[in-house]
Amino acid sequence: MTPAPAFVSYEFADRKELCLSLAAQSSRRVMLVPPLFDEMNRMRKMLVDVMRALETLEVGSIMPDLPGTNESLVPLGLVTLTDWQKAVETCAQQHDISHVASFRGSAVTVTNLRQADHWIFSPVKGATILRTMLRTRVAADKESGQATSLAELTAQAGSGPIELAGNILGSRLFTELNAAEIPDFINQRVVRLESDNKPGDGQIPGSALWLRAEPDDDPAMSSAIARDIASWLE
């Protein structure tokens, strides 16, 4: 039978935020922190498949919603990167997590967990995520007959909320993300796709699902990620 994840929660800023949880018959557990914005939607199915594959390898996993995303009741426009970092830290504390896997942009949200062991998949800095979203906005503006530029929009986002690719970002979230570099932890394993030539500690087969027009899955990639995480936990 395919194992079914359950919903659990963590309390942050007087609210409950949901997490998907898949317990396993073992003490080995990992928290998966999902990518940011659209990349989360495009990779969520693949990540839930990672959770299922981890369960078969006797590794329990938990995947929290960041405040303002997915099922969260907090409006995204009120959320800051500092909130995300504290939320991830709080979730890890409340669920007794010492091993954290982050994906793409979520690498910049796990920085409060300096002492944890980190598994990091294809990390990007915050500015890279924003750049794609800004370009989408420039293209949309162009279609409606308005000429905007990356520089203009960046300046605008620094002083007030901005709508980028269907997301309302407050100026603090934008500014913090724009400055957020890829972290470097004491204990970390950086894993990339085989087609990615940047330095890393391991490579897995698969494709960059965050680039797809529609959300998609990749069972082989999910299994490869789960196997890599399971052996890293040993």
Partner: protein
């Protein structure tokens, strides 16, 4: 840490197209200079183009400015490869 391997601009463009369109290695290896892109491939909408530009910047360590981007750039695979080759030598 594994050493960084030099990636040719053409290989990078091919890899990114493959990821955007969800193609196999064989399918994307059939892309030729004259293969039509924008308009011919429905998956390649403005959102996908935004992702493509940022991903090329990331993989080839280049910066693509607003002024660099025009309609012609995405007309064919050859145009995109030529553009990437020009940017890495800048």
């Amino acid at each position: 840490m594994q050493n960084e391997v030099e990636l040719t601009p053409e290989a990078a463009v091919r890899a990114v197209m493959r990821d955007i369109l969800g193609l196999s290695e064989e399918q994307v290896s059939e892309f030729k200079a004259e293969t039509e892109l924008f308009g011919a491939l429905p998956e390649l909408d403005s959102m996908a183009v935004a992702g493509l530009l940022t991903e090329l910047e990331d993989r080839l360590d280049i910066m693509i400015e607003d002024d660099d981007v025009d309609g012609e750039l995405f007309e064919t695979f050859g145009n995109l490869v030529a553009f990437a080759e020009m940017k890495v030598t800048e």
